[in-house]
Amino acid sequence: MKLEIIDLWKKFGANVVCKGIDLAVNEGEMVCLIGASGSGKSTLLRCINLLEPVDDGRILLDGLEITDPEQDPQPIRQRIGMVFQSYNLFPHMNALENVLLAPRRITGRSRAELRPMAEALFERFNLADRMGHYPDQMSGGQQQRVAIIRALAMKPEVMLFDEVTSALDPELVGEVLDVLRQLKAEGMTMILATHEMGFAREVADKVCFLDAGRILEEGPPEQLFERPREPRTAEFLSRVL
């Protein structure tokens, strides 16, 4: 088991967003979280990346409890990459600098030493000609792909994607989904919060339907999409498909 979430609870004030979530993710697996806005998908991802402290429950990464308050969150976050809906590139740095910042600061190695690694990533995702561009000189799709490269540059073991295509113009969604397919083919362990049902059905190993802070139903995509057991799942799917 690569990542295991056990009875996770998270509330913001009186608003309980995660109500006892259990989830297991195997090495190399892609898990898609689907559900209406506010169902707890983003919060779950933010908890896994330790951007939000959990109120109760445990998250294990390779058997190590990362939610232990004694645990220093910084090395854990380096093992888990995260990509956001609004890209969140650093606007005052060009694409290459965006990608190099964290590796430089964390490994202490120089730009020159790290540059080949970054260049290889840009080439792998067909962005070599954009390395010197600033975020505002790139399309949304390009920015999101740079954000993915930035996360990959830390060589994470797990990647979290928080509705990474939701802010994109429809014609740019494809190029980002292609990157995700490529990562999946390369064996990356991934968790996606997504509204792209067609993509989830095609690529995911497991789909989880979240409803009001709980995983109401989970299973392989063909089962969940074709023969949902829960009436709420069927109702949600009929609304979005």
Partner: protein, 290 residues
């Protein structure tokens, strides 16, 4: 320039080939422009004429003219005033970087989020309340007269040192608020992105938040620097003979206020271009953000 170019554009597209070369709308706009310029010129001329004619008709004008606009006194004192102004410039030059640094430290203290650092945050809050709540001149008096009164040996009784300290303490409270506004204007998602990559809090501030925040607040900080250049003159109250005090010396010597007018002119020569430059910076930044 820009306006006329913009107005020329429709002529090329819409009204090309017309006899006059101008569309009807353009002719009307040109007529209106000419009319409003005439009105502005006429009303300005009337206002100036009124001042030039009416002010000398006031009963005290001759005395005021002799006391404030005395050419002989002006010529005699101006070079020395200019020389004394260098002290203002020098004090400005060593205060400004200290204010920039101490203001940043205060802003970072105020941004502290971990409970262990709460005392620093509280200190920064109280500091800003204190020094923004007291007039600069009072801070200069209290520090400039109070601390040397402890009987410190030279050079620690110098009014230059304590005048500088007073200005830095006061102004950094304002500049810290400017920095803070910049830091808070950087969206939380930038912090999340930095932290999710595994960067430490310090690296996040240094490489992600501050470079963006400082760029945004440079124009506002420059406005503070312009008022600092003027307020440097307040240090004269505890001793240093800079331009304001030098003008005061001449006022007593010649029993004439013209040196003050000279001093004002020297300040204007520095502050007006600086203010214009900052206005342009702000305008440019607003254009870029929109």
């Amino acid at each position: 320039m820009g306006a006329s170019e913009r107005q020329a554009a429709p002529a090329g597209s819409g009204a090309a080939g017309r006899e006059s070369g101008l569309s009807r709308r353009e002719r009307r706009e040109r007529r209106e422009r000419r009319r409003s310029m005439l009105i502005a010129a006429a009303s300005t001329a009337i206002a100036i004429a009124a001042i030039v004619i009416l002010v000398p008709m006031t009963p005290g004008w001759e005395k005021v003219q002799k006391a404030f606009f005395n050419e002989a006194v002006f010529v005699k004192t101006f070079p020395k005033l200019l020389e004394a102004f260098w002290l203002d410039v020098a004090m400005f030059l060593w205060c400004a970087p200290l204010i920039a640094v101490w203001g940043l430290v205060l802003a970072l203290m105020r941004d502290a989020r971990s409970p262990a650092l709460y005392p620093l945050k509280l200190f920064a809050i109280l500091y800003s309340d204190l020094f923004r709540g007291v007039p600069v001149i009072l801070v200069i008096y209290l520090i400039g007269f109070g601390i040397p009164g402890l009987g410190l040996p030279r050079p620690w009784n110098s009014p230059y040192i304590w005048g500088t300290v007073a200005l830095v303490l006061s102004y950094s409270a304002y500049v810290a608020e400017v920095y803070r506004a910049g830091i808070e204007s950087i969206h939380e998602s930038q912090r999340a992105a930095a932290v999710s990559l595994g960067l430490s809090h310090g690296d996040m501030m240094r490489f992600v938040v501050l470079p963006q925040a400082i760029r945004r607040v440079i124009p506002a900080a420059m406005n503070n620097l312009i008022s600092l250049q003027k307020d440097v003159a307040l240090v004269s109250f505890i001793g240093p003979v800079e331009i304001f005090r030098q003008a005061g010396v001449y006022k007593s010597l010649y029993a004439n206020f013209t040196p003050y007018v000279g001093a004002a002119l020297i300040f204007l020569v520095v502050t007006v271009p600086a203010t214009r430059a900052v206005d342009r910076m702000i305008a440019r930044q607003q254009r870029r953000q929109s």
